[in-house]
């Protein structure tokens, strides 16, 4: 409860600070650079949750605990959500910065692929009736997908030069404006906190569902939909 209140206050403070405290970065039209405080943490949280999902999948395959699969599932859901948010905010940003919502910039391409992968992950889950089978298949697929991601990261940027800022405002590099850095790190923290909070809610929900609905009832539902 206290954590929730603190998180709310923190988020509000960051939003206010993003618009009032930090200065707009040079090299970006108008105030557009402020998107940094929302767009990048979104992308970061998405990456984090996909990673978490993959690790949970591995744990599931090794231990076969339903909780691990629940974690993998909810992390993938949240990852997809934040990924969509990052795409949306990026697209709005792209309209302001590059003049069109979508122009197959490598960044956009790779994020579409990421969205496709996790879309496929959910398609797979919905197409397998037996719960245990579904968990194993989903875990296997998420591992396979994760294995291909490094190839994506190495390969896509080679295709064409990207307009997407890579190092211009990279916070890891020295030279970022200290005010910006402060707000940026704060926002990162806020988004991570938000992520953990939603994740725990989702997990609790999944566990409750699992308790009130024994395994075999879940199968039955799928059966009526015509799956195995």
């Amino acid at each position: 409860m206290i954590a929730k209140v603190l998180l709310t206050i923190w988020m509000t403070a960051i939003i206010v600070a993003a618009f009032l405290y930090a200065d707009a970065a040079v090299g970006f039209p108008g105030e557009t650079s402020r998107i940094l405080f929302f767009h990048v943490p979104q992308a970061w949280v998405a990456t984090l949750s996909f990673l978490l999902s993959m690790i949970a999948s591995c744990i599931y395959l090794a231990r076969r605990r339903v909780t691990a699969d629940n974690l993998a599932l909810s992390a993938a859901e949240l990852g997809l959500l934040f990924c969509l948010l990052a795409t949306a905010s990026g697209s709005i940003f792209a309209k302001a910065a590059w003049g069109s919502f979508w122009n197959w910039d490598p960044r956009q391409t790779s994020i579409v692929i990421l969205l496709m992968i996790y879309g496929a992950y959910f398609a797979l889950r919905s197409a397998v009736g037996d719960p245990e089978k579904r968990r194993v298949f989903a875990a296997v697929y998420s591992i396979l997908a994760f294995v291909t991601v490094p190839f994506l990261v190495f390969v896509v940027p080679r295709i064409t030069a990207s307009l997407h800022p890579e190092d211009t405002m990279n916070p890891a590099k020295p030279g970022m404006d200290p005010k910006t850095l402060k707000v940026f790190l704060g926002s990162l923290l806020a988004y991570t906190g938000l992520f953990i909070w939603i994740l725990r809610l989702r997990l609790r929900l999944l566990n409750l569902e699992g308790m009130q609905e024994p395994e075999f009832l879940v199968t039955e539902k799928m059966d009526l939909e015509g799956e195995e």
Binding site: D223, L224, G226, E228
Partner: protein, 205 residues
């Protein structure tokens, strides 16, 4: 009223002769049993009668009050069960029956379909997907499908296959009821089923 006339049927597959000069006539109330070793051509003969396979020579005619029934309308007169048939696995049993009612042009009536399932002992499983049916339940559903339009000619290829003793009893009842309604041809190797026949044709002789 109806009658079936099979004359000089003969069936070859490539060089091998399956059977030749099979002729018989069948009238309402009669039951004909066909028997013979595995691979002797029982199923093929039934499929020829149903019009699913063409005989090498000979012909199959059906008559209604002495008039020959054209091939297109035969579907109304024949009901058939065979091990090679299957129903739609992705539909429930009731949906299957509903489909066959509609496609045959019988006014679909849920009650009568349910009654048919009752008759074949499936009423508890009417809403189960056929994919999840056990072998015996599938066989019962095939029987139900063949009876939907009360066909004057019922062709039963191994009707008791996969069935338990209750199921066998159901087959017995079906054949008994069919004696009132029309003709029956049974192909089987089960002594019990062959014995239902008033006449027996043995393809292995």
């Amino acid at each position: 009223m109806y009658s079936l006339k099979v004359s000089y049927l003969c069936k070859h597959y490539s060089q091998t002769l399956l059977f030749k000069d099979i002729s018989f006539e069948l009238h309402p109330g009669e039951v004909l049993a066909i028997t013979g070793w595995n691979g002797s051509g029982k199923s093929t003969l039934l499929r020829i009668i149903a019009g699913l396979v063409r005989p090498t020579t000979g012909k199959v005619e059906m008559f209604f009050k002495g008039e020959s029934i054209p091939k297109e309308s035969r579907r109304r007169f024949v009901g058939m069960v065979a091990p090679a048939f299957s129903l739609y696995e992705e539909l429930t049993a009731l949906e299957n029956l509903e489909f066959f009612c509609k496609v045959r042009g019988i006014a679909y009536d849920r009650k009568s379909c349910l009654a048919m399932m009752e008759r074949t002992g499936l009423s508890e499983n009417a809403h189960k997907l056929c994919r999840n049916y056990s072998s015996g339940m599938k066989q019962r559903l095939k029987l139900a499908q063949a009876l939907l339009h009360s066909p004057p000619l019922l062709l039963l290829d191994e009707p008791g296959c996969n069935l338990d003793s209750k199921g066998m009893k159901i087959v017995e009842n079906i054949i008994a009821a069919q004696r009132q309604l029309g003709m029956t041809v049974i192909a089987s190797n089960e002594k019990r089923e062959v014995d239902y026949g008033d006449r027996v044709i043995n393809l292995s002789e």
